[in-house]
C-alpha cells in the first residue's frame, strides 16, 4: 500500500500551492498592498470627489507598495 494521498487531494494541493506561489510567494507585502489599495478605493467610493481621489490614489499607492517592497529586499540582502 502506498502512503501517497489520493490523486484528487494531490491535485487540489498542487492547485492551491500554485496560486499561493503565484500571488503571495516571497513577497507577501505586495499581496497585502494590493488588498489595501482595493479596500481604500472601495472606501473612497463612499465619499465625495471619489473619482479624482481614486485616480491619484491608485498609482501613488502602487508606487509606494513597490518602494516598500524594494526597501525590504535591500534590507534582506544587507543582512545576508
Amino acid at each position: 500500500m502506498s502512503d501517497r494521498p489520493p490523486l484528487v487531494l494531490r491535485l487540489i494541493r498542487g492547485f492551491g500551492r500554485f496560486w499561493w506561489d503565484f500571488l503571495v510567494g516571497d513577497t507577501p507585502e505586495l499581496f497585502v498592498a494590493a488588498l489595501v489599495i482595493i479596500g481604500v478605493i472601495a472606501l473612497l467610493s463612499e465619499r465625495g470627489h471619489f473619482n479624482t481621489a481614486a485616480i491619484v490614489v491608485l498609482p501613488v499607492f502602487a508606487t509606494l507598495a513597490l518602494a516598500a517592497s524594494l526597501v525590504r529586499a535591500v534590507r534582506l540582502s544587507r543582512r545576508k
Binding site: 513577497t27 473619482n51 498609482p59 535591500v74
Partner: protein, 255 residues
C-alpha cells in the same frame, strides 16, 4: 492612417503585454527543451513540448469563454488585483536585477543544470519518460503564467482571440529563434523584457482595478499609455536610486 486611428491604446498595451510576457516565459521553457533535446534526443523533447502546448491550449479554450459569463466589473476588479500583484512582483524582481542587488536570470546556468540532471538520470528502456516529463514540465509550468495572462487580459478586454493569437505568435517566434541560435539564449535581454512586461501589467492592473471599482479614467483607454509612462519613469528612478545605493555600499565595503 486607418490602422493607426482604429487600434485603441488598450489593444496596443494588451498586445505588448501578452507578446513580451509570452516571449520571456517561452525563452525560459525553450532553455529546458533544448537541454532535453541535446542530451536525450529530440523525439521525447518534441513530444513533451507538444503535449504541454496541447494542455495549455485546452486550458485557454475551456476557461477563457467561461469567464465571459462573469459580470465585467467583478471580472475587471479580480483581474486588476491579480495583475497588480503579479506586475509589481515582476517589476520588483527586474529592478533588483537591473540594480545589481539580485543575480540576473542566467539561461546558460539553467541549461547546464538541466543537462547535468538529465545525464545523472540515466537511460530508460523504450520511450524516454524522463526526457518527456522534463520537457512537458518546463513548457507547461512556464506556459501556465502565459495562459493566466492571456485569459485574464483577453477576457477583461473582450479580446481573448487576439490575446491567444499574439501569444501563439510569440511562441512560434521564440521557437524559430531557438532553432537559429541553438543554445545561445543568454544573449536575450530577458531582464529588460521582464521589466517592460512588469510596467504593462501594473498599468493594466491599476486601470482595471479602478474600472472594477467604478473609477472613470480621464481619456478612457488612452489613460493606459499615461499610466505606462508614469510607471516606466518610476521604475527608471528606482533603478537609478538602487544602483547609487549599491555602488555606495560597495565603496564602503572596499574602504
Amino acid at each position: 492612417m486607418f490602422v493607426a486611428t482604429s487600434v485603441s491604446s488598450g489593444t496596443f498595451v494588451l498586445v505588448g503585454a501578452v507578446f513580451l510576457a509570452s516571449c520571456v516565459e517561452m525563452v525560459e521553457a525553450l532553455t529546458i527543451v533544448l537541454a532535453v533535446g541535446h542530451t536525450r534526443g529530440w523525439r521525447s523533447a518534441f513530444e513533451g513540448t507538444g503535449a504541454a502546448l496541447l494542455v495549455l491550449t485546452a486550458l485557454v479554450a475551456a476557461f477563457g469563454p467561461a469567464l465571459v459569463h462573469v459580470p465585467l466589473s467583478v471580472l475587471r476588479l479580480v483581474v486588476g488585483g491579480v495583475l497588480l500583484i503579479f506586475g509589481m512582483q515582476w517589476l520588483r524582481k527586474s529592478i533588483l536585477r537591473a540594480s545589481g542587488l539580485k543575480a540576473k536570470h542566467d539561461e546558460d546556468a539553467i541549461y547546464e543544470e538541466s543537462v547535468a540532471t538529465l545525464r545523472a538520470a540515466g537511460s530508460t528502456p523504450g520511450r524516454d519518460r524522463i526526457a518527456f516529463v522534463m520537457a512537458f514540465k518546463g513548457v507547461f509550468l512556464e506556459g501556465l503564467e502565459v495562459v493566466i495572462l492571456v485569459i485574464t487580459l483577453g477576457t477583461s478586454a473582450h479580446q481573448l482571440g487576439l490575446a491567444s493569437v499574439v501569444a501563439a505568435v510569440a511562441v512560434v517566434l521564440v521557437a524559430l529563434c531557438g532553432v537559429v541560435v541553438a543554445k545561445q539564449l543568454s544573449s536575450v535581454p530577458e531582464n529588460l523584457l521582464k521589466m517592460s512586461v512588469g510596467v504593462l501589467l501594473v498599468t493594466y492592473g491599476t486601470f482595471w482595478t479602478g474600472e472594477g471599482l467604478k473609477v472613470r479614467w480621464p481619456g478612457g483607454d488612452s489613460m493606459l499609455l499615461g499610466l505606462a509612462a508614469i510607471y516606466a519613469v518610476v521604475t527608471w528612478l528606482f533603478v537609478l536610486s538602487l544602483r547609487r545605493e549599491t555602488s555606495a555600499q560597495t565603496q564602503r565595503t572596499n574602504a
